[in-house]
C-alpha cells in the first residue's frame, strides 16, 4: 500500500502563550499550517492576531510554549527564521528622514544584494513609487508608506510572509494591487498568513481560516 508523505509544515505552534502584564494576549494556542497553504487570521481587536504574527516573525518571544517556522525552531534558529520570513506590520519599519530609495537600499545591502540600486529601482516601479524615490518618507501619505512597506516585504523574497492588516490605509486601487501581489506570492509557493478585518477579501485569498478570541482559537 502506498503511503503519502506528510506535507512539510510552514508553521507548527505548540501551546503558545503570551502575557503582557496581567493580561494573556495568547493562551495555550496550538495550530499547524502546511507549507504553501495560505491562512486567514481573524478576530476582534485585541484578540491576539498581531501578537501571534509578531511571535511567528520572532520579533517577540512567547511567554510559554514553542513553535517551529518553516521547519526551524523559532528560538534556537531565530536568525534562519528571520532570513526566510517577512512581516508587514502596523509599524512600517521605515526611517522617516531617509528617502524611499534609501530605505530600500539599506535593506537590500543588509541582504547582500549585489546590484542593490537596480533591484530597488525595479521594486519602486512595481509598487508605483518610482517618481517619489528621492522623497523623504516623512513627506509620504499613509498609503504610500504602506506601499513602501510592501516593497520591503517583497525585497526579502520570503518563503513565509506575515501580513497584518495589509489593506489598511490603501485606496481601492491599492487594495486591488495588494490582492494581486498576494496572489503572485502564492503562485511562487510563498506561504501567506493574512490578518484582516476584511473577511470576504481575506477568504478569497486564502485556503484556511483561524479565528482568535481572547488569545484562543475558536470555531469561526
Amino acid at each position: 500500500m502506498m503511503q503519502t508523505e506528510p506535507k512539510a509544515l510552514a508553521l507548527d505552534i505548540r501551546d503558545v502563550s503570551k502575557r503582557y502584564g496581567p493580561r494573556w494576549a495568547l493562551a495555550r494556542l496550538s495550530y499547524s499550517l502546511p507549507l504553501g497553504t495560505s491562512l486567514l487570521l481573524t478576530g476582534h481587536n485585541g484578540s491576539g492576531k498581531s501578537t501571534l504574527l509578531r511571535i511567528i516573525a520572532t520579533s517577540s518571544s512567547p511567554t510559554a510554549g514553542g513553535l517551529s517556522v518553516l521547519g526551524l525552531d523559532a528560538r534556537e534558529q531565530r536568525e534562519d527564521v528571520r532570513r526566510q520570513t517577512a512581516l508587514l506590520s502596523h509599524s512600517s519599519f521605515l526611517y522617516e528622514d531617509l528617502t524611499a530609495e534609501q530605505n530600500l537600499l539599506l535593506l537590500a545591502r543588509l541582504l547582500g544584494a549585489a546590484h542593490a540600486r537596480d533591484i530597488v529601482s525595479g521594486l519602486l516601479t512595481k509598487v508605483g513609487l518610482a517618481t517619489r524615490a528621492d522623497h523623504a518618507v516623512r513627506t509620504f501619505s499613509a498609503g504610500m508608506r504602506k506601499r513602501l512597506a510592501i516593497a520591503r516585504v517583497l525585497l526579502k523574497q520570503p518563503r513565509l510572509v506575515l501580513l497584518d492588516e495589509p489593506f489598511g490605509e490603501l485606496d481601492p486601487a491599492g487594495i486591488a494591487a495588494m490582492e494581486k501581489i498576494i496572489g503572485e506570492m502564492q503562485d511562487k509557493g510563498t506561504t501567506v498568513i493574512l490578518a484582516t478585518h476584511l473577511i470576504e477579501q481575506g477568504r478569497a485569498l486564502t485556503q484556511r481560516r483561524l479565528h482568535l478570541r481572547e488569545g484562543r482559537a475558536v470555531a469561526a
Binding site: E96, L98, R109, A114, L123, T125, Q157
Partner: protein, 241 residues
C-alpha cells in the same frame, strides 16, 4: 500600482553578510540620517557651547579659577551633550519600530551596537573640537602638553562615554520617561571615566610635571576595554524581547 515589467529586475538571492559589513551599513545609515537632517549635530553644538558659557558666567571673571577648572567644564559639556546625542540616535529607531526592522532583516544585534557606538563616538569627538577654541577663549587656557596628547585624551574619553551610553540609550529608548532614565542610568556608571578624562585633560592643559598622565590614560583605556566588550556581548539581550 503594480508594474509587472519591473518584476524581472528584483530577483536576487539574499546572502548573509559579515558582522563588520552589517555594522558598516548601520553606521552609514545613521550618518545618512544625520547628514539629511543635521538635527543632532546642530543641537549638540548649541547645547554644549551654551553649557560652557553658563559655567563661565556662573564662576565670574576669576581667570585663575576658570583656568584651573576648565577641563572639568569641558567634560561636563561633552557629557551633558552626549545624553542628547545618544537619545537621538535611538529615537530614529523607535519612531516606526525600525529597530525591529533591523532585527528581522536580520542584522546581528552586535553589529547594531558597533554601528551605533562607532557612530556616536566621532560625533562627540567632533563636538569636543568645536568646544576647544571656546575653552581657550573663555577660560584662558593653553595646551601645555601639546595638541596630540589632548586629541588622544578626547578620543579615549568620548569612546568611554559612547560604549555604555549606547547600551543604556537602547534600554531607555523603550521607556516612557526615556529622557530622565538615560542620564539616571548613565551618569553614575561614567564617574570613573569622567574622573580619568578630566584629570588627564587637566594634565595636558596645565602641564604634567609628575608624569601622572599615563596612569589616567591607562584607566581610560581599561574602562573602554571593559565597556566595549560588555556592550558587544550584552547588546543582543538588550534589544531582543
Amino acid at each position: 500600482m503594480i508594474d509587472a515589467s519591473a518584476e524581472r529586475g528584483i530577483a536576487f538571492r539574499p546572502q548573509p553578510i559579515g558582522l563588520f559589513h552589517s555594522a558598516a551599513i548601520v553606521f552609514w545609515k545613521d550618518l545618512l540620517i544625520e547628514w539629511r537632517t543635521r538635527a543632532r549635530l546642530n543641537a549638540l553644538i548649541f547645547f554644549a557651547v551654551a553649557t560652557l558659557l553658563l559655567f563661565s558666567f556662573a564662576l565670574g571673571p576669576d581667570t585663575a579659577l576658570l583656568r584651573q577648572n576648565a577641563a572639568g567644564y569641558l567634560w561636563l559639556g561633552i557629557l551633558f551633550a552626549s545624553v542628547l546625542s545618544l537619545g537621538e540616535s535611538f529615537r530614529v529607531e523607535t519612531e516606526n519600530s525600525s529597530m525591529d526592522g533591523l532585527k528581522l532583516a536580520p542584522v546581528d544585534a552586535r553589529a547594531v551596537f558597533l554601528g551605533k557606538a562607532v557612530g556616536n563616538g566621532p560625533m562627540l569627538f567632533a563636538l569636543s573640537f568645536v568646544l576647544l577654541p571656546i575653552l581657550v577663549a573663555l577660560y584662558d587656557v593653553s595646551i601645555a602638553g601639546g595638541l596630540a596628547a589632548l586629541v588622544g585624551v578626547l578620543a579615549l574619553g568620548c569612546a568611554a562615554i559612547t560604549a555604555p551610553g549606547t547600551i543604556y540609550a537602547a534600554i531607555a529608548s523603550n521607556a516612557r520617561a526615556r529622557d530622565v532614565l538615560l542620564p539616571l542610568l548613565l551618569f553614575p556608571l561614567l564617574v570613573p571615566a569622567l574622573l580619568a578624562s578630566v584629570k588627564a585633560s587637566a594634565l595636558v592643559l596645565q602641564g604634567d610635571p609628575m608624569h601622572q598622565l599615563g596612569s589616567w590614560l591607562g584607566l581610560l583605556a581599561g574602562f573602554n576595554l571593559i565597556y566595549w566588550g560588555l556592550g558587544f556581548t550584552l547588546f543582543p539581550r538588550v534589544v531582543e524581547d
